[in-house]
Symmetry: C2
Subunit: 247 residues, 2 copies
């Protein structure tokens, strides 16, 4: 996982502002993928004035379940895991946020889940009230936000199918294929799938144990459908993987 952990960028446990110095929307590699794509240049610069570039080190918490949600984030680099905990410690990961993803769609008072960094993360941070005011002035930004929320809802429903009706092998393959299509929007690569999360995280996302995830991955590797590489997997037999994922 060396590629994802850079101690040089590690930060304190809470928000660590880097100042406005390092942000430049024009050069932002995920601008066209993110919420900002809905904005005209002048609007973008208005929104930019509200933003603050923040960095998080691996394992840092962006925000915590049940706490007041007074910040929203647009992730520009790194990966974030989003999860809910049951009182007895069982954990369900409800999603992974990648560059271009927006955290704070929910419009509710309290955070529905905890978000913490899997790798060093860079994000544009907004105060929710300021962001909300800005939203009031830009109906098309609200439409874009709503369409992103709809998309999230659709992904959540797909995940419900995976959790409720798929076998362990299908779960793992669907996960890899889903992540592949998300990464390919970001870095274009079609075969290498970075896995910044642990096997435990994958298990907690798919409703499986670590051991089962590991067994399925090694089986897929033994059958030459994938190769396990440092920090991820390489997909070899895409047709076969698609067949498993589609069932």
């Amino acid at each position: 996982m060396a590629a994802f952990r850079d101690p040089g960028i590690a930060t304190p446990l809470t928000v660590c502002p880097n100042g406005q110095s390092s942000r430049d929307c024009d050069r932002c590699r995920v601008r066209t993928l993110s919420l900002c794509a809905a904005l005209e240049p002048d609007e973008l610069s208005d929104l930019d004035k509200l933003a603050r570039t923040v960095n998080f080190g691996g394992r840092d918490t962006l925000f915590e379940q049940d706490e007041p949600s007074d910040l929203v984030f647009n992730i520009t680099a790194g990966a974030v895991r989003l999860y809910k905990l049951l009182p007895d410690g069982r954990r369900q990961i409800v999603g992974f946020a990648l560059p271009g993803d927006f955290l704070g769609l929910s419009m509710s008072e309290k955070n529905a889940f905890t978000a913490d960094a899997l790798t060093p993360v860079t994000a544009c941070q907004f105060s929710r009230p300021h962001f909300s005011d800005f939203l009031d002035e830009k109906p098309h930004l609200l439409r874009r936000l709503h369409s992103m929320a709809s998309h999230e809802l659709s992904l959540a429903q797909d995940q419900m199918v995976i959790l409720g009706r798929r076998t362990a092998e299908e779960k793992v393959v669907s996960f890899l294929m889903g992540l592949r299509s998300r990464w390919s929007r970001i870095n274009g690569s079609m075969f290498h799938v970075p896995l910044p999360m642990t096997r435990q995280d994958i298990g907690d996302f798919l409703g499986l144990t670590v051991e089962t995830v590991s067994r399925m991955l090694t089986r897929l590797a033994r059958e030459k459908a994938i190769v396990i590489v440092p920090d991820g997997v390489r997909l070899l037999d895409i047709p076969r993987l698609e067949a498993i994922a589609a069932s």
Copy 2:
């Protein structure tokens, strides 16, 4: 389930308009729960002009997965099941729509799931383009829609926890408690939980088989936590049920 199936109101398989005659927003029992609550009286009457009251008989299809989504619905009576099918026939129910619920939050070209009536259903139906145009003129309606979508997303994430990390008993109890709180907003009753869906439907919602659902319900009944009544259950030992659902 006799109470839910009234052959007298059964309709053809597709949309069966009853005309505007039977709609009266002022007397609508779910207006304050639904999307319409965001509107001023004059706006409501504008929206009303776009609406068409439609009735469906039990088992009728409102719309089908992967087909163009050119209609949206506001359910005013009855219950609807929303599900996705895998190619091999496995089914995942992603939700049940009750009076006050809005179908068509998704803003995508194709329906993400099939919706069919569990009981005779009445709904306000809108053409999506007309509804979308109306939305453009009323930003606060869009905000309301977005907040409903956020709520749906939150429910979907809760369901992910249930599907991924809960035992069969916890699943069934969480389901009953969740349905109870939704029904209580509609009809205020606190102990009787109508179950317009079959055991199979409950299983397909919770990622269980019919047999397991049946066994869990009879076990809860044997332990005097619930009573199974025609068309639903009556909750007896609420503290115990809450303890199971919370874990």
